[in-house]
């Protein structure tokens, strides 16, 4: 049984259909890449999987761990082990990075965590992400640069340890160094052998140092090609023209 099963999924935004009959299976520990030109509907898929109410599922189903999650709110999905890194993470004035993540872990596990252990783990993960230690006490995303916000998302990924994570254009707008750092963070997540990933991207920069199992090409709301990691390099060379 796959960890995530998407069957014949169609999604509309504000009444206009964006995704048509998407089928996709993602197994434990697999890394999938979803590529496609701008406006293909890649982020729509991420948002629909995560349960953003602005995205209406018109038909089809989503199974996570064998359970139909189509009607569940985003927090239920998160508690079930799903995660999404946002393209534009929101600013939360008044709550520090550290306390936000700690609260989130407690929400998801329902258990208190030892503060000392938590601090240690947070520091280790921030190290991987080349994050200055002072960031843990800053208000989440407030006054962060684009790169710092993306790093804060990956930090949450490492701390929350979801079973399945959607990374929505995590590399967009980042310089070379930031892409490398973020990529190191994702690699760290991959070390957990059960952790599955759906990396949504329209460029291939971030994939250079990552292990990829499957690649899917989304054009105009439909998956037009599936392949393995080699598809990434093929698109890297030839672009999406042949699929449009």
């Amino acid at each position: 049984m796959s960890l995530l099963e998407i069957r014949e999924l169609s999604v509309s935004v504000d009444g206009s259909p964006i995704l048509k009959n998407i089928n996709l299976n993602i197994g434990k520990g697999e890394t999938h890449v979803l590529m496609g030109p701008n406006g293909a509907g890649k982020s729509t898929l991420g948002n629909a999987l995560m349960g953003n109410p602005a995205y209406e599922i018109t038909s089809g189903s989503i199974y996570f761990n064998g359970l139909d999650i189509k009607g569940e709110s985003a927090d239920k999905r998160a508690k079930a082990g799903m995660f999404m890194s946002f393209q534009n993470p929101l600013e939360v004035p008044g709550i520090s990075v550290s306390s936000f993540i700690r609260n989130a872990i407690m929400q998801q596990t329902g258990e208190k965590i030892k503060f000392s252990e938590y601090r240690k783990e947070l520091a280790a993960n921030m190290e991987i992400l080349n994050y200055d230690a002072s960031y843990k006490d800053r208000d989440l995303n407030v006054g962060f640069s684009g790169g710092e916000k993306k790093k804060a998302e990956i930090l949450q990924l490492l701390m929350l340890k979801p079973k399945f994570a959607i990374l929505d254009e995590t590399d967009s707008g980042l310089d070379v160094d930031a892409v490398r750092t973020v990529s190191a963070g994702i690699e760290e997540y991959q070390k957990n052998e059960d952790g599955a990933l759906l990396i949504i991207t329209h460029s291939t920069k971030i994939l250079e140092s990552l292990h990829v199992d499957f690649t899917h090409v989304l054009v105009k709301g439909e998956i037009v090609a599936d392949g393995d990691a080699s598809l990434v390099s093929e698109i890297n060379e030839n672009g999406f023209e042949k699929y449009i």
């Binding site: 927090d75 998160a78 946002f86 939360v92 008044g94 709550i95 989130a104 929400q107």
Partner: protein, 363 residues
């Protein structure tokens, strides 16, 4: 008593032009101010005392003429209710880093009113923290304080006001400020306790580049009722003001906010900005907002923004993807709002008291 009357009236039916206090207030004089520490460079005294440590302040008429936010009827009330005035005086040029803490411990049945005058002479800087609290959460009574502040040229005053009174208290917090050239007045307010709270703030930015910064955070629960009136008058050229008011309403709480940026003729280059952010958490709440900009000058900028209602759908979704339910997200965002104001206070003890109060409130 008619309090917090608007400068620019509007439809009576909205019941926002003023607040009428019908309750008769009887004062028993119990519950006094405690000045916890007096940092070097600050003189604390009473208006009537003659030996308060070399206070050479002879003429306080300039302070007395400062208009407060609640208006004339409150002036008459405080003049009658509090014969004496607590004076806080920062001598010219003295930069005082330690805050002056004035604590009012108001217990059940206490009923008192006080007047405080803060004078920061030219080039000085001072922080005054005034906090009102009750040791029992359900304590009832009355507390009123009128605070006048004169910020001299190049001086700066940070005034902190924290209301942690018992749930049966009525509190009148009347504030008047005058800021001279390149002086800066910063006020951080947290209104959490009490049953009925009325806050009036008037600031006159009289000098060139006189500055005002206000941050107000509140939480109204149960049947709490909060009425606020801010009037910031820009007289001075290039004077600047910023006012940030945020909070949450729950249960059957009510809140009125009036905020006026008054750009007076001659205030060339003045900039006034006001932001309000209200989270409404229960069906029974009533939120009224009246942000006014009066403009009698062209070379100025006045802006106002407000966001009122439930948690935005973007924020809610973001929080949910991290595993917070709607209820938890609302709670965490309420705390976040209040924390962002609390963090401006910069006094560990006061932080602790607020923290403790909030933890109890959210139990």
């Amino acid at each position: 008593m008619r309090l917090n009357r608007l400068h620019s009236l509007t439809w009576n039916a909205l019941k926002l032009n003023e607040v009428v206090l019908e309750d008769k207030i009887t004062l028993n004089g119990s519950g006094k101010a405690m000045v916890e520490k007096i940092p070097a460079g600050v003189i604390i005294g009473n208006e009537s005392c003659s030996d308060c440590g070399g206070c050479d302040l002879k003429d306080t008429t300039a302070l007395k003429s400062i208009k407060c936010g609640m208006g004339e009827e409150a002036d008459a009330f405080f003049a009658k209710a509090s014969k004496d005035v607590l004076m806080v005086h920062a001598r010219p040029g003295r930069k005082v880093s330690e805050p002056v803490n004035i604590r009012y411990l108001m217990e059940n049945g206490d009923s008192n009113a006080d007047r405080v005058e803060i004078l920061a002479e030219e080039g000085s800087s001072i922080t005054v923290i005034m906090d009102y609290s009750s040791s029992k959460r359900e304590a009832a009574g009355f507390f009123g304080v009128q605070t006048r502040v004169k910020v001299g040229a190049h001086a700066s005053v940070h005034l902190v006001k924290v209301n942690l009174l018992g749930s049966g208290f009525m509190c009148l917090d009347d504030i008047g400020v005058a800021v001279e050239s390149e002086g800066y007045f910063d006020i951080t307010q947290m209104c959490l306790g009490g049953k009925r709270n009325i806050i009036g703030v008037a600031a006159d930015l009289t000098g060139y580049k006189a500055g005002f910064n206000g941050d107000m955070g509140y939480l109204c629960m149960g049947s709490q009722d909060l009425d606020m009136n801010y009037h910031i008058s820009h007289h001075g050229r290039k004077s600047g003001s910023e006012l940030n008011v945020k909070g949450a309403l729950r249960d059957n709480a009510r809140k009125n906010f009036r905020g006026t940026i008054d750009l007076i003729h001659g205030a060339k280059g003045a900039v006034g900005d006001e932001l309000e952010d209200v989270l409404l958490l229960s069906e029974g709440v009533i939120n009224k907002t009246l942000p006014v900009i009066l403009c009698d000058e062209d070379d100025v900028e006045g802006t106002h923004g407000a966001s009122i209602g439930r948690l935005s759908s973007d924020m809610l979704f973001y929080m949910q993807t991290r595993g917070f339910s709607k209820h938890e997200a609302e709670l965490i965002m309420t705390k976040a709002k209040l924390n962002s104001v609390r963090n401006l206070i910069g006094d560990e003890q006061t932080h602790g008291r607020i923290q403790y109060y909030l933890e109890e409130a959210f139990k």
